[in-house]
Symmetry: C2
Subunit: 445 residues, 2 copies
């Protein structure tokens, strides 16, 4: 390998960093990422989509826990199912600068390896931190063009995070980690076009599963080109733009992208969160929304419109629909998993309310912002603009809110589970000599 290359620099970082090198508040973000991952997976555990994934991958039996389902599968298979589950309800964590949801691709392989190789909770926290960091830094180095071209960045960059976390837990040296990341470059995939279909979840599941495979093959001596990422015919250029190597590795070990991870308060597309908050704010001034509201205009930038201006035919559409986000918040004053579940999405009242929502372009709105204007039957007009929605970097979810989210999801998913014990186990991971107590608590049966 040459002296320096993108995968070599990342490999050295991943192989050398210890938990003590990571500031306490950044480590806490790794635990929050794990808590949010477990919450999402518990919430979707009984969903038919997850059940189908568990059937298809179920031929690969093994010793890694599938959250909330009691199955024990080979680690790659378990990683796929857990990643699909934790991503399914669109209730992920989000690194807003890249719009990567890093928990779903990174945490499942880390958990599966920590469990099956009898590693400690501190190993799991460290590997999660490093995997998230690698995924987000690679994503940032090609943003925003990468996503804008149609690459579902959670999947395309998640595979690097999975490879890095897995390589660390397999004990690879710097060169081994580098090869794992370089092999993962030949397994990077996922499309924005598929976002409103189950193919999205397959991309995220494959990121978790194929990153782990890359690391295991690297552990067996499989190699990649040193320039797999930044080379002339490498990942970054093939997928649309050269990497910014300064962004990729600048202040590595001192600037932590993981510190900027956020956690969704609503189970829908992250750019729709301002719409939800605007709807909830205006709801406070209404007594009977279905009768009072005549017309709703939601204005935002081109990204909001590109992602969210769609007809709703099922709950997948609802989770990326400006119309449903606005209608649910205005109608019910709530936007949790129930409001994005099939029954409520198909409800007659919310259909009517959705039909009153119009979407308008306002290029002056900053990314992630939304202005909502509601006209009432009596002629009154209510208006609010949300720039920093709840759960954003400016208004982060508190630990208590994250715990409440896990409780909500555990109840929604229906797996047998003591939410408070799960929460305690995750917060205490750095002191846990084994992850077995945690996996037992989330196995669900």
């Amino acid at each position: 390998m040459p002296e320096s290359s993108a995968i070599r620099d990342l490999g050295a970082f991943v192989a050398a960093t210890t938990l003590d090198d990571i500031p306490p508040e950044v480590r806490h973000q790794a635990r929050r990422t794990l808590l949010n991952f477990v919450a999402g997976a518990l919430g979707a555990a009984s969903d038919p989509t997850v059940a189908a994934a568990a059937r298809v991958l179920g031929e690969c039996t093994g010793r890694a826990t599938v959250i909330g389902r009691g199955d024990r599968l080979e680690p790659m298979a378990a990683s796929f199912v857990n990643a699909v589950a934790s991503n399914l309800l669109d209730y992920d964590d989000t690194h807003l600068a890249t719009v990567i949801h890093p928990g779903a691709p990174v945490a499942p392989p880390a958990l599966a390896l920590a469990e099956t190789r009898a590693l400690g909770g501190a190993d799991l926290v460290l590997a999660t931190a490093l995997g998230v960091e690698v995924a987000c830094r690679i994503g940032l180095s090609v943003s925003p063009e990468h996503y804008d071209r149609g690459w579902h960045i959670t999947a395309t960059c998640g595979v690097f995070g999975s490879a890095a976390a897995s390589a660390r837990l397999l004990g690879l040296d710097a060169e081994g980690v580098a090869h794992a990341i370089g092999i993962a470059a030949s397994a990077s995939s996922g499309l924005v076009e598929n976002l409103a279909s189950a193919a999205k979840n397959v991309g995220v599941g494959n990121a978790a599963r194929n990153g782990l495979l890359a690391a295991r093959l690297a552990a067996e001596g499989y190699a990649a080109a040193p320039t797999a990422l930044e080379g002339r015919l490498g990942w970054a250029r093939a997928s649309g733009r050269p990497m910014d190597l300064e962004v990729l590795t600048g202040e590595l070990g001192s600037r932590w992208e993981l510190a900027r991870n956020t956690y969704k308060p609503y189970p829908c597309g992250i750019v729709m969160h301002s719409v939800v908050d605007a709807g909830l704010a205006l709801r406070a001034g209404l007594r009977d929304p279905l009768r009072e509201v005549v017309d709703v205009e939601v204005a935002g930038d081109a990204l909001l419109l590109a992602r969210g201006d769609r007809a709703v035919t099922d709950e997948r559409d609802a989770r990326v629909s400006i119309h449903h986000c606005a209608a649910a918040a205005l109608l019910w004053g709530a936007a949790g998993v129930r409001e994005f579940g099939r029954e409520r999405v198909m409800d007659a009242a919310v259909r009517t309310m959705r039909s009153r929502v119009r979407v308008a372009l306002d290029a002056s709105q900053p990314r992630g912002a939304a202005r909502m204007t509601v006209r009432l039957a009596g002629g009154e007009v209510l208006e609010t603009t949300v720039v920093h929605p709840k759960g954003s970097e400016a208004v982060p979810l508190s630990d208590a809110e994250l715990e409440a989210k896990l409780r909500e999801l555990a109840a929604y998913g229906g797996a047998r589970c003591e939410p408070d014990a799960v929460i305690e186990a995750v917060w205490g991971l750095e002191r846990a000599p084994s992850v077995a107590p945690l996996t037992a608590l989330v196995a669900g049966r």
Copy 2:
């Protein structure tokens, strides 16, 4: 789904086509593709790279045969190992218009499903034909820019062939096949930058394995966007250029890209084959090449130089090295698996001969051609130009030559195997009520 879309049109074709719809000579190409696939996998069965893949995937035990190794794995796992093996020696089949090597990603999942679902040999031939056709047509619709940007087209398009072949063998209807192909779009990956490393084989293995997963998930109701391939944020545009939909689906069912599949006579990069043929031709005029040859110039177009002008440090380099291809042909008058094996690649005489080879750009040469000029110690100059190397569409390998290739590879790989019985079983597949006799013959122990 809309009336017509790329995946829908391909889905209808794959679901509706029967073996009787395919001309006999095209069906014969499907059998040749299978024979070549089996040959390649037998040849690499005992290679350490394949052994490592078999270890990593070996946790997923099942009922699908790993060729030449006796292992029986879950179908996705077996597909990965068989695809890696059949691609490892660079002795593939080649669809020259796209430079896709379709056998490695398509045949393994087809064989694994035919075996584990107790299907007939005719099913295997049909699925292979349809999978190769889908892979090559999708590749052709984005060629040559797709490959030129850095996408290893065998892997990136192979996943579609795997999904199509698998979906057909799973009995999916037109819509199910369409979803399988659309899901595969979110699993398409593989990089030219990684071609000289084992990461290349991982890309090909993943194409086989992830295409099968896409089909199995489609069978469980997983869906993709109808416009997963040609949409604004879909596969083709994300990876660099819009699809030519006329190329994709024009004359579907009457024009067969499979008919243009070719089979390598030498285990090296396809663009190097003219170099080998030129060296073999000039070798005939030499008595003691190592003493006589002073200087060798190989001239070709930019693609030849881009792929083959490299220092040789190991046998992977040798397989994509103009220098080694020229040196081996001139020195030994042969270019088979032995001449590209580790021992001969590291041999002192061939190192010397390689050091005498220079590469020159001659943009007037057509793609795939090479001019070789050899200057001898006595001052004499020998020169030849090869435009259509052996194994190309113009000079196809005969069935007898393909059979000889299988015998050579079976002996090289060292698995217990009766080559003539294997050959007979492949030629007779369309009349075989089961593929079990074939898998028993190639299991190797």
